[in-house]
């Protein structure tokens, strides 16, 4: 046992030396994850606010001005100026505005007279997410305004029939911040990329250069060698998870709920499966180039079928079973569930079992294949 510990340690030290000696490699391993997080966190921001909106107030009454002010107050819509209707259409055409709110003449009169007042919203539909949210915002505002009119004193609407109040309450991410969603997904994805690629390339490199021969004729057992080749990347992966979470919390305010032991254990299980996949790819490859292509062939579908980019529920029926073989799928659930909702062992043990099971199996298969494929 003591012997194996010495051998294991020598492999780990050697791997870390090789991985961290080259400044470029060091940067890629330790800095790139943060850079990626920043890019995804800031650039892939689907949070919709500050939509430039042009106001066409044809009523020009104090009532209409009052409603326009309140409509713009929450910051979802930005005042892009007031204009007449043809100018407003032009502004949408050339992109100066994404929406126009048109208040027709007689708006105030209709409200006073108890008639239904009309408001028109013109939307730039080229970005459906954005136009949907703008439409919803305007709709919600005037629905609320309508209820207030029914009962201007606040409180219960007495003597009014059929008025239903609709009050959405968003749990876990009340401001609907995209970063809360993006940061865990990105962290899980870049962990997959770094570890699977490193494991696949590391062993393929040794095969290509022939550096394994003198190691394999030494008394080191295969499992110690495999362990020694994976543990350094577990360390690096762990470091990356921690820095990603710290950066996510500090820059984007992503919460850190959840049980640390669960998160740690699930991350270890996830790393086992990604490193195992990398090692498996390396047993199928004779050169670094083959390993690189192999790793890509694994990572691209893994990312697409993870539920990070497209919801799992939106996938075709025949495709969905494949997502159950995808470690990334479970780990994204773990990160989101744990960080945002505070879920732990009780809620997410099935994900942990799936990750650990896949990790153990793929590592074992790779170990078995390893020696046979050397010849």
């Amino acid at each position: 046992m003591r012997m194996h510990a010495i051998q294991l340690w020598s492999i780990i030290i050697k791997e870390l030396r090789q991985a961290l000696r080259d400044p470029r490699m060091r940067g890629q391993l330790l800095i790139m994850p943060i850079v990626q997080l920043l890019i995804f966190g800031y650039a892939a921001d689907f949070t919709v606010d500050h939509v430039p909106t042009v106001i066409v107030d044809q009523d020009q009454s104090s009532v209409s001005r009052h409603h326009v002010q309140r409509l713009l107050a929450d910051g979802t819509l930005d005042d892009a100026g007031t204009a007449d209707e043809p100018t407003a259409n032009e502004m949408i055409d050339d992109g100066r505005a994404n929406a126009a709110v048109i208040i027709p003449p007689g708006f105030a009169r209709d409200i006073d007279g108890g008639r239904t007042a009309m408001v028109q919203v013109v939307l730039d539909g080229s970005n459906p997410t954005r136009s949907g949210i703008v439409g919803g915002t305007v709709g919600r505002y005037f629905a609320m305004a309508g209820m207030e009119l029914g009962n201007p004193m606040g409180g219960q609407a007495v003597g009014k029939k059929g008025s239903v109040s609709f009050q959405p309450r968003v749990l876990y991410n009340p401001q609907m911040k995209t970063q809360f969603y993006i940061v865990p997904g990105t962290a899980a994805m870049q962990l997959l990329m770094a570890t699977a690629m490193l494991a696949a390339m590391g062993l393929a490199r040794e095969k290509e250069l022939g550096t394994l021969e003198q190691v394999l004729v030494s008394p080191i057992p295969t499992w110690v060698l495999m362990l020694g080749k994976t543990l350094p990347f577990v360390l690096i992966g762990m470091f990356n998870v921690l820095t990603s979470m710290a950066a996510g919390a500090w820059l984007f305010g992503v919460p850190l709920h959840g049980e640390p032991t669960f998160l740690l254990a699930a991350t270890l299980a996830y790393l086992m499966s990604t490193l195992g996949a990398g090692l498996f790819i390396s047993t199928m490859s004779n050169s670094q180039q083959q390993a690189f292509m192999g790793a890509f062939l694994f990572m691209m579908p893994a990312m697409l079928l993870s539920g990070n980019m497209t919801p799992l529920a939106a996938m075709p029926d025949w495709l969905r079973p494949f997502t159950y073989l995808n470690p990334l799928r479970y780990y994204i659930q773990v990160l989101r569930g744990s960080l945002l909702r505070g879920a732990g062992w009780a809620e997410m043990w099935p994900q942990f079992v799936a990750l650990a099971g896949m990790g153990v199996i793929i590592l074992w298969v790779s170990s078995m294949r390893f020696r046979k494929t050397l010849a």
Partner: protein, 300 residues
């Protein structure tokens, strides 16, 4: 008990038969040369004997044990592979430490051996240099040092002087002689005749089989093929004719002359065919290369 035993080794790679029943043995205190042209199966033989590749037939034994089984026997053997097998991005010192740890050599023992190996390989001044910045000769000496750290009883070297200058080559061989004094068994593969003649015994290998075996001097002494050097005549026409003659077992140019190894008893018939082309056949003393050419069918 022989230190190394290859008994009827067979190994295929797809449709290619790299070894077709190769048998030989190496004793302690002996340098055995596995000599053959490229593609004869030398590297495969060493890979099977070190347990890197499983044989499809026959048995390989190192000190009576199966080298593919792992464990104890690996502590007793060392390998210096043909290609660059050390870590180029690690320094000399780091490579030595790494291999020392793989064999779990105690610290004080390791330091003593390291000093001695660095001293005799004259690498002591370069311990901080990365392996990939070493010259071919220095690199091979480092590889040899790494394979000797655990003081193996059996050392196998696959074309150790490939790409090494003549001076470093002599040094490497001097090192090997030093170690057999301690009773080490050394198996070395080489395509070079001058190296083969430095071995105690050689096995000539051709197409995965042993075709001749013995001390280099004995092989030359017992060689029954006439050897001649051809002078004069139309060189081109002579070479064309030689290709059609089954009695010619090997040819290689020596300066302006052409050296021929002829099947036993065929000298006069060869002379009869070549004389009309204006060629003069002068008898020559056979050397090891002639033996090699005739036995392996290699073209020099």
């Amino acid at each position: 008990m022989h230190a190394v035993v290859a008994d009827g080794l067979v190994r295929r790679f797809g449709a290619v038969e790299a070894l077709r029943g190769l048998s030989f043995s190496v004793d302690a205190g002996e340098i055995y040369g596995l000599v053959g042209p490229d593609g004869a199966g030398k590297t495969t033989a060493i890979r099977v004997l070190t347990g890197l590749v499983d044989p499809h037939g026959g048995t390989a034994r190192i000190l009576g044990q199966d080298p593919g089984a792992g464990g104890d026997v690996r502590e007793q053997m060392g390998l210096m592979p043909q290609q660059y097998s050390l870590y180029g991005d690690l320094t000399i010192a780091e490579n030595l430490t790494f291999f020392g740890d793989l064999f779990c050599i105690p610290k004080d023992v390791f330091m003593a051996r390291r000093e001695r190996l660095l001293d005799i390989t004259r690498l002591a001044r370069f311990t901080d240099r990365r392996a990939d910045s070493l010259s071919g000769g220095m690199y091979k000496k480092l590889a040899l040092a790494c394979s000797l750290l655990h003081q193996p009883k059996v050392l196998m070297l696959d074309e150790p002087t490939n790409g090494v200058d003549p001076v470093s080559r002599r040094e490497l061989w001097a090192l090997l002689y030093e170690f057999i004094g301690d009773g080490m068994a050394i198996l070395v593969s080489t395509p070079y005749m001058d190296e083969a003649s430095r071995c105690h015994r050689v096995g000539l290998i051709s197409q995965g089989r042993l075709v001749a075996e013995g001390a280099p001097r004995d092989l030359v002494r017992d060689f029954d093929h006439p050897v001649v050097e051809v002078e004069g005549g139309d060189r081109h026409a002579i070479e064309e004719l030689l290709l059609t003659m089954p009695a010619i077992r090997g040819t290689h140019p020596v300066g302006t002359r052409l050296r021929l190894v002829i099947a036993p008893g065929e000298l006069e018939s060869v002379r009869a065919q070549l004389t009309p082309l204006g060629a003069v056949l002068n008898p020559a003393v056979p050397d090891f290369e002639d033996v090699f050419l005739a036995r392996t069918g290699a073209v020099a």
